[in-house]
């Protein structure tokens, strides 16, 4: 039973990776630009379409094909920050959020115009097991049972771990990271002490959109249908992960991103017991209600600091 439980938890590995990358992107934009990027999922979907087009036309493997997608993400991120936010005359905090919502509509309409209207573009995982004709799963024997993991999930987990570790090291030790942390605590003061906050936010946007595309490619490789809104659920989960972990630290949202898929699969695991056999229908409802309760108990998030307001 314990092995079955572990297997269920490990089944959420891919969602953990995708949610963690998305949550990090949302956090870094929220901290540097004080706005929630609602276009995160749409930009990611756009990048994913770019990748899929390259894969189809040129037949290049996915680990090369992801690069043009990420470059597209970088360009979109830079465009949003440098052109739209900086050139707008009166763009406040709420205005920025609404602009990102405008981008959601722009991509919903733009993607079918640019790429036609295919509901499903065939997408290969990072390690194409059918081409290499090997088993797509890795089976571990432990705790008196089998724990099944897909190779794609393992590779994605490795990539995510490397990328996030590198980013956290950069945040902690590099000059750019110091700039980000300073801008995050107060943009105005950061400008006063001589940090070029424009460069910092521009890099953050580029980074966040590129990571979003990477996450979308991982998610699509896991067998998800690609369409304009296929990152919607992931995005909602990423936002909730950010709230759950608290926006005030960078590691909080990652912890939230690990918790949500695990929690979801744990609830799904209850279906193995006869008393809860019907639970899979209500899985997401139960998970969201649990999250809601946690957030209500700790409104600043699990690792959040209380913000003191002055009149």
């Amino acid at each position: 039973m314990f092995a079955a439980f572990l297997s269920t938890v490990c089944g959420s590995l891919l969602s953990i990776c995708v949610t963690a990358l998305s949550a990090f992107s949302v956090t870094i934009i929220f901290r540097t630009s004080t706005t929630a990027n609602f276009a995160q999922g749409s930009v990611a979907a756009f990048g994913c379409y770019v990748v899929a087009t390259y894969l189809n036309q040129w037949g290049i493997p996915v680990y090369l094909g992801v690069l043009p997608g990420m470059i597209a993400g970088v360009l979109i991120g830079l465009f949003i920050d440098l052109v739209v936010f900086r050139k707008g005359r009166h763009v406040g905090e709420l205005g920025k959020q609404i602009i990102t919502m405008g981008f959601v509509s722009l991509f919903y309409g733009g993607i079918p115009l640019l790429f036609g209207n295919p509901e499903f573009i065939p997408f290969e995982p990072f390690y194409n097991t059918t081409k290499a004709s090997v088993d797509s799963n890795v089976v571990l024997n432990a705790f008196g049972g089998e724990i099944v993991l897909t190779k794609h999930a393992l590779i994605s987990a490795a990539i995510t771990a490397v990328v996030l570790a590198a980013l956290f090291l950069l945040l902690k030790y590099s000059k750019w990271g110091l700039g980000v942390r300073t801008t995050a605590s107060s943009e105005f003061t950061a400008e006063l002490v001589g940090i070029n906050t424009h460069v910092i936010t521009a890099i953050s946007w580029a980074l966040a959109c590129a990571l979003g595309v990477l996450a979308a490619v991982m998610y699509a490789g896991g067998g998800a249908m690609i369409n304009t809104s296929f990152m919607g659920t992931i995005q909602v989960n990423a936002f909730l992960a950010c709230i759950l972990g608290g926006f005030s630290t960078f590691y909080g949202p990652i912890v939230g991103a690990v918790l949500i898929p695990v929690l979801s699969n744990c609830v799904g695991f209850l279906a193995n017991f006869p008393a809860f056999s019907d639970i899979s229908r209500w899985q997401m409802v139960i998970v969201y209600i649990l999250l809601l309760v946690i957030i209500l108990i700790k409104p600043q998030g699990l690792f959040g600091k209380k913000v003191v307001k002055k009149v």
Binding site: S105, Y108, L113, L240, Y288, L296, V311
Partner: protein, 366 residues
């Protein structure tokens, strides 16, 4: 000396209108009263089904206008919530679902008359509005927006688990014991829409509206002035939730079936579009909001569907909506209402300046 004269002339020009009101000005003043505006609006929209019967308009046009009014009902509730209380919510779609599912369960399955379904919808959405209102006391700003987004997902998933496709037969719907057809539904939507518009516009001008506005500008300052934060936040959420649920009820009456998992009505897109409509129109203007809803939902089905280019590329309209939202927020944060207001103000200033200039010129000649 001349300066003083000019100033006096200016004052006379600006303020003297109040004493002598000609018949022309009386009509103008009457038109400024919201109720008159709403009555005229009702009459214009109320003629549409008649015109459709006479063959001037197509029935799909009338249907599209009815559909737009449903979204406008959601939008005016949201306008009060965002424009007047400054609470960003992304939960509109979920609350719309409450109305739609109550319509299905009560009218289709239990055969209840419309009146009962309406009252139950208002009661249930009132309770959920109170719940969200209390949540909004603990959580603010972007946290609240995302939390309401989560709440909307909870409702959507619950509805999908309950029943994935809902249908409403018009033969089962009874209003005051009479069977109603499509035209009556249209008129019912129109009546509800104008009624809610009127209630909201009165609410905004009442002490409640002023209190909401003060809470929006500064919670702490408002509390210091003796405004009960809890009361007004909960009230704002209750109003917007009730409006959204009523819209959901009317949506089921007009469209009669919905597949919840694929329908965009209960997805994030609706919440975002309503937000977009309020922003395009101007967050503080009800007429602006109505206009914004028309741009997002009505334009496509009423006018653009006649243009061949847009028929071939329906995605282009979604794209244009997005572009419009971005440009308006970038350059006109007050929305279309602000643009119109600026234009009127400019014209007024222009005439006054011209008049003053003429006086100055005449002084010069003396």
């Amino acid at each position: 000396m001349t300066d003083l004269n000019v100033k006096q002339e200016y004052l006379r020009l600006t303020y003297s209108d109040h004493h002598k009101a000609s018949a022309d000005e009386k009509v103008k003043k009457l038109l400024c009263i919201p109720l008159t505006q709403y009555l005229i609006f009702t009459v214009i929209l109320g003629i549409f089904p008649l015109l459709a019967q006479m063959g001037v308009l197509t029935s799909s046009f009338v249907f599209a206008i009815g559909n737009t009014m449903i979204y406008a009902i959601m939008a005016i509730g949201f306008c009060l919530l965002m424009g007047y209380s400054g609470l960003a919510s992304l939960g509109t779609a979920g609350f719309v679902g409450i109305g739609a599912y109550i319509a299905y369960y009560l009218m289709q399955i239990y055969g209840a008359p419309f009146g009962i379904a309406f009252i139950v919808t208002v009661m249930v959405s009132l309770l959920s509005g109170v719940l969200v209102g209390f949540i909004s006391l603990r959580i603010e700003g972007i946290y609240l927006a995302i939390l309401t987004l989560g709440l909307s997902e909870i409702l959507r998933n619950t509805f999908i688990s309950l029943k994935s496709t809902i249908k409403l037969d018009m033969s089962k719907v009874r209003l005051f014991g009479v069977k109603i057809g499509e035209e009556q539904v249209y008129l019912l939507i129109l009546a509800l829409f104008v009624l809610l518009l009127w209630i909201t516009s009165n609410l905004i001008r009442s002490p409640i509206g002023r209190a909401l506005l003060s809470v929006k500008n500064s919670t702490s300052a408002a509390q210091a002035m003796g405004i009960n934060l809890m009361k007004y936040r909960v009230l704002a959420f209750v109003i917007s939730t009730v409006y959204a649920a009523i819209a959901g009820l009317m949506y089921m009456m007009l469209l009669r079936n919905m597949t919840t998992s694929t329908s965009t009505l209960l997805s994030l897109a609706t919440s975002l579009n309503i937000l977009g409509a309020v922003v395009i129109g101007g967050a503080k203007s009800l007429w602006g909001t109505t206009f914004g809803v028309f741009i997002i939902y009505g334009l496509q089905s009423t006018l653009l569907s006649k243009v061949p280019f847009f028929v071939e590329n329906p995605a282009f309209i979604t794209m244009m909506t997005g572009l419009l939202i971005i440009l308006i927020v970038m350059f006109f944060p007050g929305g279309v209402a602000q643009m119109a207001g600026n234009l009127v103000q400019k014209r007024k200033n222009g005439t006054i300046n011209a008049q003053v200039q003429r006086r100055v010129d005449s002084y010069g000649r003396k």
